[in-house]
């Protein structure tokens, strides 16, 4: 995990930040020479967690590779809002694959670079949770199994947002989506479904797997930077709130992401060759309500008659994560 020693130059405040660090310790985004790989002018929603995450991730990758990154993008929000014909906000070589094959197309691009003897050029595949955990799952596993030299980044906003907030296998229990209504026996998405793709990635024993969140952008940059120094298949799963789909305030995106982390619902960890090598220990643990109440997709659990039973079940998931991943 990214941890840095800093010196306080201003007394009486808790102000810390890039300007107090040595240049080499500052974030990529604070650097004037950052590539702005995902340039301004794209059509993402106000407060979009994915746009934030992608900008940090790709710029970090460019910084780590001397500006030699090619990106393959699955169909989804990122692909759609970043390339509104006839414009593109990408400053790097970029190809939109199809919905389910970003990992395979990226494997092809990486093979082409090997064939051309261009070891300096690196390949990133990116997709949302739909394109990664569902329809892209087969190609993803194939890429991992072959250990193709690709960094796959999944931007997880926990539903098919681009097409109108439909449920994916990354949708958490009790969340309301257009296809998991907030009524009936188990209001919202069903408990006992879903899959943990970072852990599945680990099961392929690939060189590097990490989860990250837009709540900790320095950590995200650091993980991408270290991933680019590794050869072979790497997977980074980034939690990115979607104000529209989650029903949260656009200004709250980073706060919502932080609540997910500090409640234990989204554990931050790293793994190499199938074994966990680092985890973020919760600094200020919060009960899951702090996270859930910020989002209208969970509104049906609150109100005059709060659904305390469901909230307790969600808390149990958080408790289990904390135990399983050693977050306390």
């Amino acid at each position: 995990m990214a941890v840095q020693d800093i010196k306080f130059y201003q007394t009486g405040t808790f102000t810390v930040g890039n300007r107090l660090l040595g240049e080499h310790e500052r974030s990529v985004q604070s650097d004037m020479r950052r590539t702005n790989s995902l340039n301004s002018g794209h059509r993402a929603c106000q407060g979009c967690g994915e746009a934030l995450g992608a900008r940090y991730a790709i710029d970090a990758a460019m910084h780590a590779t001397n500006d030699r990154v090619m990106a393959v993008n699955a169909t989804g929000c990122l692909e759609v809002f970043s390339t509104p014909y006839p414009e593109t906000s990408w400053q790097i070589p970029w190809i939109h694959s199809l919905f389910g094959n970003a990992a395979a197309v990226a494997s092809g691009v990486a093979a082409a670079m090997r064939a051309k003897g261009r070891k300096d050029v690196r390949v990133i595949a990116q997709g949302g949770d739909g394109g990664t955990t569902d329809i892209g799952f087969g190609c993803l596993s194939g890429m991992f199994e072959r250990n193709d030299d690709v960094l796959y980044i999944c931007y997880d906003n926990e539903a098919y947002m681009n097409t109108g907030v439909q449920r994916s296998s990354a949708t958490p229990p009790a969340a309301r989506t257009a296809t998991t209504m907030a009524v009936g026996d188990e209001p919202g998405n069903t408990f006992g479904t879903g899959k943990n793709v970072p852990v599945i990635a680990m099961a392929h024993y690939i060189p590097f797997v990490a989860t990250a969140s837009v709540a900790n952008l320095r950590d995200l940059e650091d993980k991408v930077t270290r991933a680019m120094a590794i050869e072979g298949s790497r997977y980074i799963h980034i939690h990115v709130p979607c104000p529209l789909g989650w029903g949260s305030a656009p200004a709250d995106t980073i706060k919502v992401a932080r609540m997910a982390v500090e409640s234990g619902l989204f554990p931050l960890f790293e793994a190499e060759q199938g074994e966990i090598t680092a985890r973020y220990k919760l600094r200020r643990r919060v009960p899951v309500e702090e996270y859930l109440k910020l989002q209208r997709r969970y509104a049906h659990l609150f109100g005059k008659n709060p659904d305390t039973e469901t909230i307790a079940r969600i808390q149990a998931i958080a408790d289990k994560n904390i135990r399983m991943f050693g977050l306390e």
Binding site: P86, W94, L98, S107, V109, A112, K116
Partner: protein, 417 residues
């Protein structure tokens, strides 16, 4: 150099001579020997500078080729039957993006019922996806067409499917002249992409295109295939000059000059058809045949030219448009627009049923006497059909059709034809 080799091996050697840099392979009968042959050549070093990738599905196979082609390297894959359907989305993607991938189709029937034998239903299912489609008559032509395909694909920036009858060609040992590397290099220069992912000159590829531009993009694909109508014969002519034989082109006619009855067909059946034509000619009948080599783009003018003088045209098809009849027939009919002659469709060979010279001669006899129906099914067993229909009438739960018929037909291994 003349060799007596398996069709798949001939194709593998021809593809290797084209210096592909990425080959992705997912196994499916009957193309497996092709990619295995190529894999061996990469391993032995005979094929240098090539990345050979074992992928996890056909969808992945073409996706990998899309990635590598977009990144500027010559890319190749092969599939058949269910595989081409599994990669269908990527097939349209490749042609829409204008990537010059060459893909072998080892023509095989599509299930259900599952069947590993030859017919044209697979390549026909994707005939309108924007790929150029070339059909080989012999293993020599199969090898040669791959060389012409890479040249054609890269010139026009269009992907090309080379269709080779599964088992009948892929698994047959016959004499093939394998060209030299020098000759292939002279015919096929290094790949110069029209568009490429390049860190020195970044571009975005694969944007969403709305009503304001989609129509023009799609039309330009059509336009490219129309240009191919000129390029295909030109490249075949150049091929003949360098390699010394006729291979490829748009159509190839046999004894059609004064023919009153002409049979049109795609692929290897043209060999047997020529034998049947010769036999009819010996009986004094004016019969000829035409092999359509380029099915997409469909050579309307060339087909019209060769058929216009005939009294009757029989289109012999290894595919069936369920619910209406012929597929190739439709395009032939388009070519004959305004010309009055008797046109017939004969569906044959589905699921690998052998098309014999005897049956073709019988069919031609009836054709010359104008006894053919508009739509015929060659060597279909009507007794089996009738029995199954009777079964269906007798009980609601008559059972699965395929299994019923198999039980009716009895053990196959004991029979020859």
């Amino acid at each position: 150099m003349l060799k007596q080799i398996e069709g798949s091996q001939a194709i593998a050697e021809a593809v290797a001579l084209c210096r592909p840099q990425v080959i992705c392979a997912y196994p499916i009968t009957p193309q497996t020997h092709i990619v295995e042959g190529l894999g061996e050549m990469v391993k032995s070093g005979e094929l240098e500078g090539c990345e050979f990738i074992n992928v996890e599905s056909e969808f992945a196979a073409l996706s990998v080729a899309i990635g590598s082609s977009a990144a500027g390297v010559r890319s190749y894959t092969a599939t058949a039957s269910q595989g081409i359907l599994y990669m269908a989305e990527a097939v349209y993607n490749a042609s829409g993006l204008g990537l010059p991938i060459v893909m072998t189709i080892g023509n095989r029937a599509i299930g259900a019922p599952i069947n590993i034998w030859n017919d044209h239903s697979d390549s026909m299912a994707l005939r309108d996806a924007g790929w150029i489609q070339l059909y080989a008559e012999t293993n020599q032509e199969a090898a040669d067409l791959h060389i012409q395909a890479f040249r054609l694909a890269e010139e026009l920036s269009v992907p090309v499917m080379v269709c080779v009858d599964g088992f009948i060609l892929t698994h047959a040992y016959e004499r093939v002249d394998i060209p030299t590397q020098a000759d292939v290099d002279a015919y096929l220069p290094p790949f110069e992409p029209v568009q490429v992912l390049d860190v020195a000159q970044p571009v975005s590829m694969g944007a969403m295109v709305g009503p304001e531009a989609f129509f023009e993009v799609r039309y330009l694909q059509h336009h490219k295939q129309e240009r191919a109508l000129e390029r295909i014969p030109a490249l075949a002519k150049e091929f003949k000059e360098r390699f010394g034989r006729d291979s490829g082109g748009l159509v190839r006619s046999y004894r059609c000059e004064d023919a009153e009855t002409i049979v049109v067909a795609l692929g290897s059946v043209n060999g047997t058809l020529k034998e049947a034509v010769d036999e009819m000619r010996e009986r004094g009948e004016k019969v000829g045949s035409v092999a359509i080599v380029s099915f997409r783009p469909f050579p309307l003018d060339a087909v019209r030219d060769v058929l216009k003088g005939a009294k009757r045209v029989v289109v012999l098809e290894k595919c069936l448009a369920v619910g209406v009849g012929g597929i190739v027939s439709d395009d032939v009919r388009k070519a004959l627009s305004g010309i009055a002659l008797a046109g017939h469709t004969v569906i044959a060979g589905l699921g690998g049923r052998a098309i014999t010279r005897t049956s073709l001669v019988e069919m031609l006899e009836r054709a010359t006497k104008d006894e053919l129906k508009l739509l015929e099914f060659l060597d279909l067993r009507w007794d089996v059909i009738d029995r199954e229909l009777a079964r269906e009438k007798s009980a609601r739960r008559a059972g699965p059709t395929a299994e019923n018929i198999l039980r009716d037909v009895g053990p196959v291994a004991a029979r020859i034809g």
